[in-house]
């Protein structure tokens, strides 16, 4: 049997192996069913944010007279206001739908900023090592030393309250953990001989960093990013609750909760619905991130 024939035979076997690898992935997804739940929640959230104008029943900032009782207290859930009205007569349901936009924008954009900074610094730090590594890791330690929420609070106060500044603050404070994790991954991947081979072939450093190493550490980065989205949504809500961040009348779940606190006794819907929406959104990303981590963990490999 010639070499060609022999390898063709093996090739035939590996074809079925390729198919079964996809199957193995789905098998491990079935092993961690919560990923589906998380993914579904995230999907619905994105639908809400994108199609907010379609899904909302009313304008989220219009104050309806029939949203308030004669004594000025908000009306409860009804046909017209499914989740009730707020203290100035706005539709809670529609505000909730629009509020998902703030949460998602902060979740995605702030995470993207952190990811960009953290991944780049982690790659450089891990790949070059030595003095550059020391400097970058000390900067990372410095960033990580500031209590996230408090520092974001201070930063937004100094920059001024706005959605953009919240994005920037959360984004430029959140990269510490990412830089550390990426660096650790790079340290282990760069020892592989395929990285050495790329160097021997004359690949430039950016090429090695972004086209050879980065694709091989994408798994942990995706997990980290997913969990960061959930954390950033919570931080935004926390900042809004403290009155810093997205300013009324623009609805965000955090400022809706804050506005509902005083009326919790007689108008619980003001606080309960945005709280539950926030819980679901954050839980969705957490389930997704946790599940992806379990699936990607080689110790849980099905084969």
């Amino acid at each position: 049997m010639s070499v060609q024939n022999a390898s063709a035979a093996i090739g035939g076997a590996s074809k079925s192996q390729k198919k079964s690898r996809g199957a193995l992935f789905w098998k491990s997804v079935r092993k961690f069913p919560m990923v589906y739940v998380g993914g579904l929640i995230v999907f619905l959230l994105v639908i809400c944010a994108v199609f907010a104008p379609v899904l909302a029943l009313h304008n989220p900032i219009t104050q309806y007279q029939n949203g308030l009782h004669m004594d000025g207290t908000p009306v409860g859930p009804s046909k017209f206001f499914p989740f009730g009205a707020d203290d100035v007569g706005r539709d809670v349901y529609s505000r909730l739908i629009y509020g998902s936009r703030v949460s998602l924008i902060v979740g995605f954009v702030a995470t993207a900023i952190s990811l960009l900074i953290g991944t780049t610094l982690g790659l450089i730090s891990g790949y070059f090592g030595g003095f550059i590594d020391t400097v970058i890791m000390r900067i990372t330690d410095t960033i990580l030393a500031f209590p996230f929420l408090l520092f974001a609070l201070a930063l937004v106060t100094i920059l001024g309250s706005s959605l953009t500044n919240v994005l920037i603050a959360i984004g430029i404070l959140g990269w510490g953990v990412m830089a550390r994790v990426v660096r650790g991954q790079v340290l282990s991947v760069k020892e592989f001989e395929y990285v050495q081979a790329a160097r021997a072939l004359g690949a430039s450093t950016p090429r090695i960093l972004f086209r050879v190493i980065l694709p091989n550490i994408l798994g942990p980065i995706i997990v980290l990013a997913t969990l960061a989205v959930s954390q950033n949504i919570l931080v935004e809500a926390g900042l809004s609750f403290l009155g810093v961040g997205v300013q009324p009348p623009t609805p965000s779940w955090g400022n809706m909760i804050y506005a509902g606190v005083q009326d919790y006794q007689f108008a619980p819907w003001l606080m309960v619905y945005p709280g539950v929406a926030l819980l679901l959104a954050v839980l969705g990303f957490n389930l997704l991130g946790d599940g992806l981590r379990d699936i990607l963990d080689p110790r849980n490999a099905t084969h």
Binding site: V3, S7, F192, Q196, A197, A200, L201, V212, N216
Partner: protein, 322 residues
């Protein structure tokens, strides 16, 4: 006399050992400690030694995957050490490497096609369609089905992966191939297939090889000349047949005595070395081998033996022949 293709002179690679509060350099691991040899076009130089003797470090230092501490590496008369980034990139077309581990040496995220295309992209070789043709040719050349371009590394066996690794090294048409234990991780039956492939390639493409290995029978099969390393130092260098017929250095003799013999009636004295390989961070004074040498003399612990010709074309560093 023809010009040497590669001329290595007094090559050293030390790794610093850092300790203490300020991470001061308190010592050095002398992985490669003064190696000099040259390789003629078209020949195969076998490099042998125990694990930890610095042969892999030497291979990587020649290619500047590790920066040499000192010494010269001249390729066709041009010193590779000290070349600028761009000059080095061009130089990489001339010298390539095949690694030991067929599993770690191929990028798991690349298809085989991408693995073979990338080097040509880096060096801007050929047009897009010519590249594709070349990938198919190379796969065929190393004995793989050209239809495999869309598969990933994990779909192949160790031997097939090693063929891919060889094909990758050949994409840029190098003159010199450094083979860093290319068959050590393979099954014996596959080893010989890959060795034969390497021999064929050498004949067809006029390649020059530096073949690093710890398996003497493999080295004997493929090499024209053999260099024996011990603890980052050269012990012996001669034609392959000469080394195996008349080993001079006690270390080479010990290595050879450990090779299994095919004839059970043939009696050979097994030389068992005393002790362990000393740490290259703290090499013995004098001859690096004297701590384990069965023929050690007083002078061996005091003076480094000179590197000299004991017989015509047979170089050795040992006080027995001074």
């Amino acid at each position: 006399m023809t010009e040497a293709l590669l001329d290595v002179q007094d090559l050293k690679k030390y790794f610093p050992i850092r300790r203490g509060v300020l991470q001061r350099v308190v010592g050095q691991v002398r992985a490669v400690d003064g190696i000099t040899f040259s390789v003629m076009p078209g020949e195969t130089l076998g490099v042998v030694g125990e694990s930890g003797c610095g042969k892999s470090t030497m291979a990587r230092t020649i290619l500047r995957l590790l920066e040499p501490t000192s010494g010269k590496v001249e390729f066709e008369g041009k010193n590779v050490v000290g070349l600028s980034k761009n000059e080095m990139r061009a130089m990489r077309r001339e010298m390539q490497i095949v690694f030991q581990d067929p599993y770690a040496s191929l990028n798991p995220r690349y298809t085989i096609g991408k693995t073979l295309l990338e080097p040509m992209e880096i060096h801007h070789l050929h047009t897009a369609s010519a590249r594709k043709q070349r990938v198919a040719d190379l796969l065929d050349r190393v004995g793989l089905d050209p239809d495999y371009t869309n598969r990933f590394a994990h779909e192949f066996s160790g031997g097939q992966r090693q063929r891919i690794g060889i094909a990758r090294a050949l994409t840029v048409n190098p003159k010199l191939l450094i083979l860093d234990e290319p068959v050590a991780a393979l099954d014996v039956s596959v080893q010989s297939q890959v060795l034969n492939l390497l021999k064929d390639l050498q004949d067809d493409l006029d390649l020059t090889y530096i073949f690093v290995a710890h398996d003497l029978s493999v080295v004997r099969y493929i090499s024209d000349r053999v260099l024996v390393l011990y603890l980052g130092h050269m012990a012996e260098l001669a034609d392959a047949d000469e080394v195996f017929a008349d080993p001079l250095h006690p270390y080479t003799r010990a290595l050879l005595s450990a090779v299994p013999v095919t004839d059970p009636d043939q009696k050979r004295e097994r030389i068992i070395l005393k002790g362990d390989l000393p740490s290259p961070a703290n090499p013995p004074a004098g001859c690096p081998f004297h701590t384990r040498c069965p023929a050690a003399m007083e002078i061996c612990s005091k003076q480094v033996p000179a590197w000299q010709e004991a017989k015509p074309g047979h170089l050795v560093a040992c006080h027995l022949y001074q």
